[in-house]
């Protein structure tokens, strides 16, 4: 483990002897601002990909769907719309952090975010940051992090859009969103609704999904106000989800789940001399009810309030050295039928440095230290560098130490919770190169992650399961992305996109591949547009994944194809009408054993942009 650091430091040192500029992965219009600017300024040597709005629109059902088809993250879904957890670079479900406007929103109880509860239509910018982000984003940013950001602008804007979708399995959805600016104000308000009977066929099994109905409602308010030498922002979000849980091939679903989340973030940003200073306060609330029998009224419940206060300041010396210091205090109060009433306090100090040595080369060094926790307070660090070798070729490298703290369930679950757990720790290095010539863009990344003290629930004497820091893993892999756009002429544009990943994730004690980590995943799309008409094909290949720790059983590989078409009427207000067929060949597939996913389905949509 120690050797890894030395290699990594050596690599940084070697890189810094060469010279040259930066090429931000996130292209950003200067007048549109992210509420979480760290993602842009302190992630230069990391792979950060923005999911295009047009792509989000094509896979708008849930964040699971958006990322399944447009990233290399593998999702385990207990049936369509049910609990969905990610495996990012072969790491476990609580090692992918979901960051809302800079704040980690993984559940206090499970350490994960259920990607089916998140509507992708509520954000202005969804980005995937691969690799360790523990210094900036705290616990769980091990495999990578998903960033859900709202932006703001003071440029004159008056935009409203209303969308409606209707599809197979009695699925209806609607969303409305308006953005207005006036004087020194920015206001964005939106709602989003999705409901489905979800009664799809289990293809070839002669059964239908009888108990998988779901409903999701979310609302958002994002506000910004320009003040003297600064800006005040407020981001607010409400999500309600009510689901019956599907059964499996050989069980009938009975249970149900309801959850509510609210998130509020207030930030005051002021330029004081050379210091760009930000004070922030956030409140997160999560509540769940697990109903073992949907026809009865008894349930298990839990809720948690998190209060996060932060103060940070940033200086930019001579347009070259950017330094950011931050102190953040978090108080979490959680209680539940199975975990009792508990709280956690954390004070974190974070120092981020980015040095732009020249237009072609920059590097960053970041460090985080925590205090007050009742377990060993970790020191996390990361370093990264980016080198632009030529106008079309650049290299990036990064290394980091990350962690995942035990959840309230791990610590306090009745019975079995273990209050002596340590955080999971992980070390990683990643190297990437990007070729980019006009319309052609390819990216190749390799990474190596070792993790220790992984928390695993194991059976103890007397039939009780208890979590322990026992498992060790090693993940390595490669990711290739390819994107090519051709302007055929006569108003025709063709876009080709392909992504492939190889993931080896090994339990070092058993010397076996981890369960539910496929070796291969590939996605691809072909889009053709002619004036206002566009047609696209979307493909997905998920390789075979083991379902048992001795690798004796698998969930089969599958490939899927979706076909979509849309047309924008050149009228004012602008109207877009489209439709798509998912699972065109009506294939049986599952990504969790015995949990069938949908048969062929059809969806039509209508969008108004006013």
């Amino acid at each position: 483990m120690k050797n890894l650091h030395y290699h990594f430091i050596l690599a940084i040192f070697l890189c810094s002897t060469s010279v040259v500029a930066q090429l931000d992965s996130i292209q950003q219009l200067p007048e549109v601002l992210l509420t979480d600017s760290k993602l842009v300024h302190f992630s230069k040597g990391f792979k950060v990909e923005k999911v295009n709005d047009s792509i989000v629109e094509r896979n708008a059902t849930s964040l699971t769907e958006t990322l399944t088809y447009n990233s290399l993250i593998y999702f385990k879904e207990n049936g369509f719309g049910m609990v969905s957890s990610p495996s990012f670079r072969g790491t476990n479900a609580s090692q992918t952090a979901v960051i809302w406007n800079g704040i980690n929103i993984n559940s206090i109880f499970t350490g994960q975010t259920d990607f089916n509860v998140i509507s992708p239509l509520n954000y202005d910018n969804i980005s995937i940051r691969s690799g360790g982000g523990g210094v900036q984003y705290g616990s769980g940013a091990v495999g990578g992090s998903i960033h859900l950001n709202n932006t703001y602008t003071f440029k004159k804007t008056n935009k409203t859009n209303v969308g409606m979708r209707y599809g197979s399995f009695s699925t209806i959805a609607a969303n409305a969103n308006t953005t207005q600016t006036w004087d020194n104000h920015y206001l964005n308000v939106g709602v989003d609704f999705l409901r489905s009977e979800n009664d799809y066929d289990y293809v070839g099994k002669g059964k239908i999904n009888k108990h998988g109905q779901f409903l999701r409602f979310s609302a958002k308010v994002n506000e910004a106000r320009r003040i003297r030498n600064g800006v005040v922002t407020w981001n607010s979000k409400y999500v309600y989800s009510d689901r019956n849980f599907s059964g499996s091939l050989n069980t009938i679903g009975k249970d149900a789940y309801k959850d509510i989340a609210t998130r509020n973030l207030w930030q005051l940003q002021k330029q004081i001399g050379i210091f760009k200073t930000k004070a922030s306060f956030a409140h997160l609330y999560e509540q769940f009810r697990y109903i073992p029998d949907s026809e009865k009224s008894n349930y298990d419940q839990g809720q948690a309030n998190s209060f996060i206060g932060g103060l940070q300041t940033e200086v930019l010396f001579k347009n070259k050295i950017r330094l950011n210091g931050k102190a953040e205090y978090t108080l979490i109060n959680g209680n539940g039928d199975n975990v009792g009433d508990n709280s956690r306090r954390t004070l974190a100090a974070v120092l981020l440095l980015n040095h732009k040595v020249s237009d072609d080369f920059n590097y960053g060094v970041n460090i985080r230290k925590e205090f007050l926790n009742d377990y060993d307070n970790p020191i996390l660090y990361s370093a990264d560098a980016k080198l632009k070798v030529s106008d079309f070729y650049s290299l990036r490298i990064n290394g980091s130490k990350n962690y995942r703290i035990p959840t309230f369930n791990d610590l306090y679950w009745y019975a079995g919770g273990n209050i002596d757990l340590k955080p999971e720790t992980s070390y990683q290095v990643a190297f990437g190169q990007q070729f980019s010539t006009g319309n052609l863009k390819t990216d190749v990344a390799v990474y190596y992650i070792t993790s220790e003290d992984l928390i695993k629930w194991v059976p103890k004497n007397g039939g009780i399961w208890e979590p322990e820091n026992i498992s060790e893993t090693r993940n390595f892999g490669a990711e290739v992305t390819f994107d090519y756009t051709v302007d055929i002429g006569k108003s025709q544009i063709l876009n080709l996109n392909a992504n492939y990943s190889y993931t080896k994730a090994e339990d070092l004690k058993k010397e076996k591949q981890l369960i539910y980590v496929p070796f291969h995943k590939a996605t691809g799309s072909i889009s053709y547009s002619y004036k206002k008409l566009s047609i696209y094909l979307q493909g997905l290949f998920n390789g075979e994944a083991y379902t048992t720790t001795d690798n004796s059983d698998v969930v089969d590989a599958y490939s899927l194809l979706n076909l979509g078409v849309d047309y924008t009427f050149p009228v004012n207000p602008n109207i877009k009408l489209g439709g798509r067929v998912k699972n065109v060949f009506n294939k049986y597939y599952e990504n969790v054993a015995y949990r069938p996913m949908p048969s062929r389905s059809v969806e039509i949509f209508l969008n108004f942009n006013i």
Binding site: N78, S248, L249, N250, T251, I252, P292, D293, K296, N298, Y414, A415, G416, V458, P459, N461, G462, I464, I515, T547, T548, T549, D550, S552, D553, V592, A593, Y594, R595
Partner: protein, 351 residues
Amino acid sequence: MKTIKRSLLIALSTLFFVACSSDDDNQPVYEPAAYENGVLVTNEGPFMNGSGSITYISNDYATVSQNIYRTVNGTELGNIVQSMGFNNENAYIVVNNSNKIMVANRYSFEAIDSITTGLVNPRFFESMDGNKGYVTNWGDPNDNSDDYVAVVDLRTNEISANISVGFGPEKMISHNNKVYVAHQGGYGQNNLISVISGTSVESTITVGDVPNSMVVKDNNLYVLCGGMPSYAGTETAGSLVKIDLSSGQVSETFAFETIQHPSNLTIDGDNLLYSLDGKVYKVNTSSITLPGTEIIEGYFYALQANDGKLYASDAGDFASKGSLYIYDLSTNQQIQDFQTGIVPGGIYFNN
């Protein structure tokens, strides 16, 4: 891969056989596998998703067959194969999470029937007088008042009566036309034995906390009680309760001196065997002192003694194939070691 290799081998040898003996009468190539004279292990299967299975190991240890129900019938048993009971030629396979019982011929494992209505969280099956089957049901595990024992008419495989019982009915033993039901307590804890005669509860006997396993010997019922676990609030020690079946009264209670939680009571001749904290202990029924003699080490999920041997299953991490170990009780040495399916929870003798 192994299966492919084996199929290839069979195909090749068949080819060879056919080529060399083309003059002989055409023998049927496929002979239905016979699963008698061996040990059957029910494997619960993966906890959340998947199917349980049954493993067969012949008494001469020469044949080991995995997943025999699927091999014969082409269909899965269902989610959480909890246990199995027998009546005459039939096996009754209790599939807990799928709320059903699959009925198959116990020697060929060809499917005969299934019981899919009227069972809610079924646990164990016990037959009596050739045409009645009793099935313990938890009902809704969060409701302590809806637990019952279903009575199945084995001629029609339909439920003919439900007997309402105290909460958490688990294992059963039938003896002299009575069924003794141990109320382990489901997700909670209980301390009762219900005595069922016909279709009603004749009496209940209070025993120690969490009665988890029973054996009958010389008209005595021995009930091993695990005691209250630490998370139950007040932790209590396990105990061994001896019930005189002629009077239906507790005749003796033997308590464990320290707070420990024994399980898996089984019997070999005069010796009671059980597991406790990673060890198997032996106690002679004629002079019971606890904990008895430590004979074998290992964390076992299920134990069954038969004919001088101890069969012990190991579920490992509960997410991979388990094992069945066979010990010779005259030497307490392990003599065999077989792979089973995932979470081997029940051991049965099919002779």
